[in-house]
Structure formats: structure tokens, C-alpha cells
Amino acid sequence: MIQTYKDSPIEVDTKSLKMILNTLVGSFIPPVNSQLRDGIDIPMDMLKGLNITNLELKTELDYMAAGITFDIEN
């Protein structure tokens, strides 16, 4: 499917481009997942002053909210 914008000299085959972009983006997923599988440290220093020592993210909720539990240091 060819698309153009007003008087733009460029035509774009959006259907083929979408397919190629999806293939390209898909190739980035395995290396990202490899990193995510090993875990990423939560920068706890951004919570400095709150005395929070542990963070646990709960994503089981089927609502537009995220549950977070954390331990507070005495």
C-alpha cells in the first residue's frame, strides 16, 4: 500500500515498511530479554530518605494500578 503526504515527493510502501520494521524490532528482543532475565537493580538511592530496604512489584492486578510492597527500616 503506497502512501504520500500532501505534496511530498516521497512515496512510502507502508505495508512492506511495517513488516520490515517489525522484523527489525523483533531482532532486538532476544538481547533485551537476556539482560532482563538476569535482572536489573532497582536504583534504591532514588528512594533515599524514605528508609526503604526492599521493594516488591506486584503486577497481578487486573486494573490500571501497580501494587508495591516494601520493608521499612527502623
Binding site: 502512501q3 512510502v12 511495517k18 521493594l55 512489584l57 503486577t59 487486573d62 501494587g67 516494601f70 521499612i72
Partner: protein
């Protein structure tokens, strides 16, 4: 917010507003905004970023843009600049998965200098060494499963990154 004094544990239910603010922070930090060139595509990419290879997707590109435009001898580097658009991202949480729908603009920028890729695309455009050929607005859906352990680490699995819609806007 619930606080259990004996257990020294607190529970917070963050509203969608807070989560949206986090997404906004990620957007505002320019993590998503990047200019992609040929060297970043890895081994055996499905297409290379030059005016000749892109003819199949942007048929009139070599005739209209590039230092040798309109000639048979044509190999000019192209950047794809990824920018988040001003449209607010939509976020859902379903069965342990974060699903984000982002509106992203893709600028196809032709580099007329002999030293492609030359680093700062914005400077190249300002200096008129680069030309904006076209801009596409895309709707990208990202689905990620996330969990944390008690050691302050986040683990995850990207399940889907899918371009759903694509419109020419320039």
C-alpha cells in the same frame, strides 16, 4: 497506603497516574529518542539504511534526495530518527503484564556527507548536510512481564513489540 508497624512492611497501590508519570519520566529522559544508522542494525539485517536499499520501501527516494539524486550511481546513508510524539501513551496491566501503547515518530533523514554515520543528526540537519525525507507516525504496542525479588532487582520478559499502525505525516 497500608502500613503494618509490627511487620515493618508497607503496601502501596500506585494509581495509573503515578505509572503514567513514570512512563513520562522515561520519555522525558530521551531514552526512547535515538537516531539509528547502519552500524546499529547488527548482523544480516532485513534491510540496510541507504537510499538504494530503501528504494523498495520509499520508491522515489534516490530520485529526490541524496547528493547524487537522479543518477544511477547512488549510495547515500540514511538515519531513522525515533522520537516519541506528544500523544499520551496508554498503559494497562493485565494478568501480570504491562502493556504500553506508544505513539512514535520515525524520521527518515538522508545524510549527504561522505562520512556517514557522522554522529549528531540534529547538528547535521541544522547545517543542511542532512535532509528530512519523510516522517511516519507509528503506534507501537509493547508487552512486558515483570517481577521483582526481595533483593531489589527487577526481572522481566519482553513478550511483544509490535508496530500496529503506520501513517505518513510529512
Amino acid at each position: 497506603m497500608k502500613v503494618f508497624k509490627n511487620l515493618q512492611e508497607a503496601e502501596l497501590i500506585a494509581s495509573s497516574g503515578l505509572v503514567h508519570s513514570l512512563i513520562w519520566l522515561i520519555e522525558d529522559s530521551n531514552v526512547i529518542n535515538v537516531a539509528i544508522d547502519n552500524t546499529m542494525l547488527g548482523d544480516s539485517p532485513p534491510i540496510t539504511l541507504d537510499t538504494t536499499a530503501l528504494t523498495i520501501l520509499l520508491p522515489k527516494l534516490p530520485q529526490k534526495f541524496g547528493k547524487d539524486k537522479g543518477t544511477d550511481s547512488h549510495y547515500v546513508g540514511v538515519y531513522v530518527r525515533v522520537r516519541t510524539s506528544s500523544k499520551t501513551p496508554e498503559m494497562y496491566i493485565r494478568s501480570g503484564r504491562f502493556i504500553v501503547s506508544l505513539s512514535v515518530n520515525l524520521d527518515f533523514i538522508v545524510d549527504n556527507t561522505p562520512n556517514y554515520p557522522n554522529g549528531d543528526v540534529d547538528v547535521c540537519l541544522l547545517a543542511d548536510f542532512c535532509q528530512l525525507a519523510t516522517t511516519l507516525n507509528t503506534s507501537v504496542v509493547v508487552s512486558v512481564a515483570l517481577r521483582t525479588d526481595t533483593k531489589n532487582r527487577v526481572f522481566g520478559n519482553v513478550q511483544v513489540v509490535q508496530i500496529e499502525d503506520l501513517q505518513v505525516v510529512h
